[in-house]
Symmetry: C3
Subunit: 137 residues, 3 copies
Amino acid sequence: MIEQIQLTLRARPRGIHLVTDEILRGLPSLPLKGLVNVFVHHTSCGLAINESYDPDVRHDLEAVLDRLVPENEPGMLHTLEGADDMPAHAKAVLSGVSLVIPISNHRLALGTWQGIYLCEYRNDGGPRRITITIIGK
Amino acid sequence: MIEQIQLTLRARPRGIHLVTDEILRGLPSLPLKGLVNVFVHHTSCGLAINESYDPDVRHDLEAVLDRLVPENEPGMLHTLEGADDMPAHAKAVLSGVSLVIPISNHRLALGTWQGIYLCEYRNDGGPRRITITIIGK
Amino acid sequence: MIEQIQLTLRARPRGIHLVTDEILRGLPSLPLKGLVNVFVHHTSCGLAINESYDPDVRHDLEAVLDRLVPENEPGMLHTLEGADDMPAHAKAVLSGVSLVIPISNHRLALGTWQGIYLCEYRNDGGPRRITITIIGK
């Protein structure tokens, strides 16, 4: 079976957000085993899998990424869309925009502490469209 | 259906290059829905999905990656293949070498502004071999 | 065909480790063509594909990542699990935890110099559980 759904994640402020539940609620019945792809159709936010328990991890991850790719870096040419835009593009390349997660026993086989992050790199990114594709049997 | 093709991307100078059209031209007819994997068989270049419209984004992304992983960093041991080689390996880990993109309505479901980047991290990387695998129905 | 296996990678010290052979030994017969997903169920280690020949590359990659995300960075909140823990989470986002590799002619279609890295970011991370999912025909 191959199934595909489109979802829109509601607008969130800049930051790292746990969206596991929002994605799980959007999923149809999953096959016994297979793969899920979660893909975000934007260039200034990202998806990642990391610690779901302590919100401090999300705070710290954002701080690390902001330090790695600061705003108003000298030499940048793509500046017309705001100081947060080009750093958002670069961070999206670092974290990626596409996740592949196994399905086992009809469930997303995330580890005990793993959750799905929407990494919102824009100050005002708006709703984010994602496509979820399920391949399994 | 599962289909697989090999392509060679022509040699490009060091930099971030938009290769969406070159990849699309290499694709067979796509299924109604499914997934495409694009995989580059090298260790000193990468693949990424990001802004396809403004070439300045590619310029700036390269500048950010060059700053994050500079050449001639003290303490590096893998130096015999040139000052650009070890940074290229590290950047390839940061951006990745394998993309998964959904297929919807017989088309690659990239977002409006999304394109496929070949991130050429070597000064003279030569042609780059990729394998494209399509799973769908 | 869709097949799925669980493996546990033995505990390794902090560092970048080549685990291609350990993963290949765990694989069943592969289909003619398809995709393999390798997914690690943890939040403080990562998976990557890079140079398999010279161990210096693994040394240097770890040095680059340690410089990009140092321990004891000011402003970090998630500090109770040790100085190596929050950097490990951030590095896991940078490298990722999920690989997709094509299968061609019943083999993993890695490039000549490509190997699979377990990036162990904790000082004492213990054994690491992975799920390998094979889709092909």
